[in-house]
């Protein structure tokens, strides 16, 4: 396989606060190849959004510390100058955010915002940029695209706004698209449309996509590879099929078990993971999932489990040995795999 387009190695992001150092991202690594999709799954505060903002150089508080390495086509981004990053943002790496209403400028017309995205990176005329904007709006499936160019964001529906955001992100043909919970603020039916749109554009434009979400169902549909994050670390990473069919980390099991089943017995209670995620100010020593893990043993609290290959490129950070993990999952899977993942 060719060299990855995006190579993240041991990325750490911490914030120095009055209460101590918050380790939001703690040694995250992944590679992303051209035209592939990586799903990053985790609950709030697991570091999935912060890691992508750090890669874009968009963490701006003065108390942030970023270390590790992020290479875009071999070019190092961590510690790169603002001018370098500015040339990359919106041109080679683009981002779609969670709330499309808040993410579009409320006082500027859609067309103006799209034209600006083009003109920031290319010395083209307004007319050319506007033609490109129109083309992109059509591509993301906005009806009456020409009319929408003169509309303000509040005149569009939520789904339409997110389509505009996607059009704006992809207008310069970026190599990598970060989609940070792009469907969370939308209706369920619209969510599916937006996911389909991202999947289609990813194929058509050959863009690599990092889909950040707390919803395993979303990545199951879209991602080639899935990384599960917990408390700032990647705890499991594998291909979509492998991870969903043979998950090996107890946290991933918990996530899978908590997906409701449409045809399950109505009186069945939704499974949840006991306890709360640890405070990033004071991570437990050893495995950070230790306090909530039903399979934890005392010695698991002694050191941090490394993300190790459990066979076939399936990476897991867990102290349990592979055979035992397989056995534990098999017994759980017998109880039924959630419908959303079948």
């Amino acid at each position: 396989m060719s060299a990855p387009i995006l190579e993240v190695k041991d990325l750490c992001v911490s914030f120095e606060t009055e209460d101590g150092v918050v380790r939001a991202v703690d040694g995250v690594s992944y590679e992303l190849h051209r035209g592939r999709a990586l799903g990053v799954v985790g609950e709030s505060g697991s570091g999935k959004s912060v890691s992508s903002l750090a890669i874009m150089g968009l963490l701006r508080t003065p108390n942030v510390r970023i270390s590790g390495s992020v290479k875009l086509n071999g070019q190092e981004l961590v510690g790169a100058g603002e001018a370098t990053l500015r040339a990359i943002r919106g041109k080679r790496i683009a981002m779609v955010f969670q709330d499309p209403l808040g993410s579009l400028h409320p006082l500027k017309r859609i067309g103006t915002q799209l034209v600006e995205a083009v003109k920031l990176h290319e010395p083209v005329s307004r007319t050319v940029a506007r033609a490109r904007a129109l083309e992109m709006l059509k591509l993301v499936g906005i009806s009456d695209a020409a009319g929408r160019l003169d509309a303000h964001p509040h005149e569009l529906s939520g789904g339409m706004r997110q389509r505009v955001m996607i059009a704006m992100a992809l207008i310069n043909g970026p190599e990598v698209l970060f989609a940070d919970e792009p469907t969370t603020a939308l209706d369920v039916t619209v969510q599916a449309q937006i996911l389909e749109l991202v999947a289609r554009l990813q194929r058509e434009l050959d863009t690599a996509v990092v889909m950040i979400t707390h919803d395993l169902g979303v990545v199951a549909e879209l991602a080639d590879e899935i990384a599960v994050m917990y408390a700032g670390r990647v705890v499991e990473r594998a291909s979509n099929e492998e991870l969903l069919a043979h998950p090996q980390h107890p946290y991933t099991w918990g996530l899978l078990a908590s997906i409701p089943e449409l045809d399950g017995p109505p009186e069945e209670r939704l499974a949840s993971i006991a306890g709360l995620p640890p405070s990033l100010l004071a991570l437990p020593s050893g495995c950070s999932f230790y306090p909530r893990c039903p399979h934890a043993r005392p010695d698991h609290a002694e050191r941090v489990p490394a993300l190790a290959d459990a066979g076939g490129g399936h990476l897991v950070a867990c102290h349990l040995d592979v055979a035992e993990r397989r056995r534990l999952w098999a017994s759980q899977a017998a109880a039924g795999v959630p419908e959303a993942l079948r």
């Binding site: 874009m56 968009l58 701006r60 603002e82 500015r86 040339a87 990359i88 943002r89 919106g90 041109k91 683009a94 981002m95 955010f97 709330d99 808040g102 993410s103 579009l104 400028h105 409320p106 006082l107 500027k108 600006e116 995205a117 920031l120 990176h121 303000h152 509040h154 005149e155 955001m165 704006m168």
Partner: protein
């Protein structure tokens, strides 16, 4: 609204007169007969509702504000004659305070919580708390060409109309502009700072950065664009209020504007003049309000549909 204002002014003045206008006009040794005659001439011997009714009738039919008790000149003509000086003072000061307020507010918002920000906001607080007449006197004492320690500006009583000499007009108003603008610049700086800080934390500002916009572009094109929209409303109201008369600054600098006219009118219990000034002031404020609403709807498309 204007009618209500006129009625209130009339009642306040009639029920609580600062002095008897007739007695003030009667000279040093008034006889009761003379005062009575003056009262009759001014129409003050009629019942209040008749006085007000006549006043209203002339106002509505001819926009006639009556004649000054003090010197018999037409109130409307007097005010209109004085208006250019006040407009000069207010609009000139507005340009200065907007430029200074926006610049300082923006720097403070971008450098929020730094020493520079604290110094600027501390300075702004000083100017907000300073009474404008005191500031005017200090400015005259320091900078006026006649009495100043560093005589670099023209002092009080030097007003030249724009039509007479543009350069003289500019020179004579520079110091009053700065004095009037100081307080407002400080208020606007604080307002712009807080408004811009709020806007800079919005998601769409992050979007602008994610698009690869430069920091200057993010702050000015995306940040200020949204942050200044509410400032327009504030501005219209402030300018409207000031046009009704900048009493203190005009008095300190002896500028023949509406504010001074009002000051003199109050001193001489000149009811028609006060009544006219208040009406003009009310009209300015109402028009300013209307303009503010229109401007806001123009600047913020979301308002048009609300």
């Amino acid at each position: 609204m204007v009618l209500l204002v006129s009625l209130l002014t009339f009642l306040i003045f009639s029920v609580m007169p600062s002095a008897d206008p007739a007695a003030l006009r009667a000279g040093r040794a008034p006889t009761p007969a003379l005062i009575a005659e003056i009262r009759h001439n001014l129409g003050l011997d009629k019942p209040l509702y008749v006085q007000y009714g006549r006043y209203l009738e002339r106002l509505v039919t001819h926009f006639d504000l009556g004649y000054s008790f003090r010197n018999g000149t037409g109130v409307r003509e007097q005010i209109l004659r004085r208006l250019p000086a006040t407009i000069s003072l207010v609009l000139g000061a507005m340009v200065i305070w907007l430029a200074a307020g926006i610049a300082i507010g923006t720097v403070s918002a971008v450098r929020a919580r730094t020493k520079l920000d604290r110094a600027l906001m501390g300075g702004a607080l000083v100017f907000i708390s300073t009474p404008v007449y005191w500031l005017g006197l200090v400015a005259l004492y320091l900078f006026a060409s006649d009495i100043g320690v560093v005589p670099i500006f023209k002092g009080a009583d030097s007003y030249v109309p724009l039509s007479q000499s543009p350069a003289g007009w500019f020179g004579s108003l520079l110091l009053p502009w700065l004095v009037l603008a100081a307080t407002y610049a400080a208020i606007y700086a604080r307002y712009v700072r807080s408004s811009l800080r709020e806007v800079l934390a919005e998601d769409y500002v992050r979007t602008a950065r994610a698009k690869g916009a430069s920091e200057r572009r993010v702050v000015v094109r995306h940040g200020l664009h949204a942050a200044l929209t509410p400032v327009v409303t504030l501005l219209a109201l402030d300018v409207g209020t000031l046009l009704g008369g900048v009493i203190l600054v005009e008095t300190v600098f002896n500028i023949p504007g509406v504010g001074r006219l009002g000051y003199d009118a109050v001193l001489h219990a000149d009811l028609p003049m006060i009544e006219g000034m208040v009406l003009f002031g009310a009209i300015f404020v109402i028009v300013a309000n209307l303009l503010a609403d229109l401007a806001y709807a123009f600047l913020d498309p979301r308002v048009r549909y609300a």
